[in-house]
Symmetry: C2
Subunit: 273 residues, 2 copies
């Protein structure tokens, strides 16, 4: 009970950051990116793979800085340095990141191909996926950031209770033995209902979109959870970390958020904007 | 001698494609992407790693299709489907590619983490790097595509002759035992001179830029060559393929082009446009 209250207290600043939204959340998303990437890389120690944290850190810092400059330029601030109206900045970021990961191999005797490929995977999976939450926070539809949290945690909690009370048919015993189809359906229903309530109270005219997002994000949320399970299983670890007592590390808590983030970001950019 | 002439004949269609430039070269760049990715993936068989060629193929097709739609939209054609003025399309492509590579792991008993990470590396290193050449071919400065070829092959040939005649000091014996510092300097000089001649004859006012590109691209060209050497050394193979008799596979011939492509593309987009 004591650790549960403690965990709640640790999650509290996060809630404040989401309430403040905008640049604060953008910065918060960067901090979570680098903490999650650190945990992800640490997990590979068990497999004797040594990805480059400095490269990942620089790459993610560059992504957030370029993204911020791009936002300022798009808001009429204008930097004049790079043509931010187009996709060149993010293409340049991809190139620089991949190049850095490849050059990492040049100490050929010290490095394995895996060291470089895990670095790349960490940046694109953990770093880039998390970045979309920050980018959503700077967008016109930044109220949707709430749905990133609501669908991820809503699915998780509702699936747990539905699974415990009604669970019979195993969902994917080889990846995560406790998950059931009944839990999955409960998770989706819970996510749709919670997103609907959110839409009704806070986002009036966007209510139908909230329901669609509640459904889509709930499904990818479970894939996010299972993806993290696969990595941990292959690494031979139970949790990515122990930052939040009783809840594992940042990446254990945010595995679903990493997937709901981009889905809601793209829904916001391509459908709502 | 016979194989050398044959090789020359095989390189001929390539020259025609570069002369035709534009959409033809865009399509040619796609074909080279998928052939090079195939060779790259095949090299990992030796390490018992099985990347997904279908995922890489779909991802690269999506990149070229989205890039084409984006070009049409930017030229005033307009598709109305996606907001192509901004970076969303390429961010969506990153997300979809990474997601597909992660979902590939869901057959958890059949797949290793490496299978997924090599797929990702193949798409971003081979596929995305090659795509920039196609994107350059559709741009306003598509004459610069010539420099992609001139700097890559110019560096290679001039470094070879300078190395053979004057080579004394080893450059990086652990990666590529025959390369020398004298060869490297000769390669850079050759690339700058050839780029200068090209600028003088074909791109009058862009001459100073051609010299800068000749210098920068020559250096990354050697990194491209060495990167391919590292991969082949770690894979335990001598060549990626035997498509071009006496010259190995597509990826053996285009390892430098993969690096000069993006550098000249970004120079063209950020400095010349």
């Amino acid at each position: 009970m004591k650790t549960r209250i403690l965990s709640g207290l640790i999650m509290l600043p996060l809630l404040v950051i989401v309430i403040l939204n905008g640049w604060i959340l953008y910065a918060g998303s960067f901090v979570i990116s680098i903490m999650a990437a650190y945990e992800f890389f640490r997990g590979f120690r068990e497999l004797d793979i040594k990805p480059s944290y400095p490269i990942a850190l620089c790459s993610m810092a560059a992504l957030y800085i370029l993204g911020a400059l791009r936002h300022v330029a798009a808001s009429g601030g204008g930097t004049g340095l790079i043509t931010f109206e187009s996709e060149h900045w993010i293409m340049l970021w991809i190139f620089a990141t991949v190049l850095a990961c490849l050059l990492y191999l040049f100490s050929i005797e010290k490095r394995k191909l895996e060291d470089s490929m895990v670095t790349l995977t960490g940046v694109f999976y953990v770093g880039f996926f998390c970045y979309t939450i920050g980018a959503l926070a700077l967008s016109e539809v930044n109220i949707m950031v709430w749905l990133v949290i609501i669908t991820a945690f809503g699915t998780d909690i509702c699936a747990y209770f539905a699974g415990v009370t009604m669970g019979k048919h195993k969902l994917c015993p080889k990846i995560s033995p406790k998950k059931t189809w009944e839990g999955a359906v409960g998770g989706i229903l819970g996510s749709v209902i919670l997103s609907g309530i959110f839409g009704l109270v806070f986002a009036g005219e966007l209510l139908p979109h909230c329901l669609v997002i509640g459904f889509l994000a709930s499904i990818v949320s479970m894939f996010g959870d299972l993806t993290a399970s696969i990595f941990k299983r292959k690494m031979g670890i139970k949790d990515y970390g122990n930052l939040i007592p009783g809840h594992g590390g940042i990446l254990d808590r945010f595995d679903s958020v990493l997937f709901t983030g981009p889905v809601i970001y793209f829904y916001g950019m391509l459908v709502l904007s």
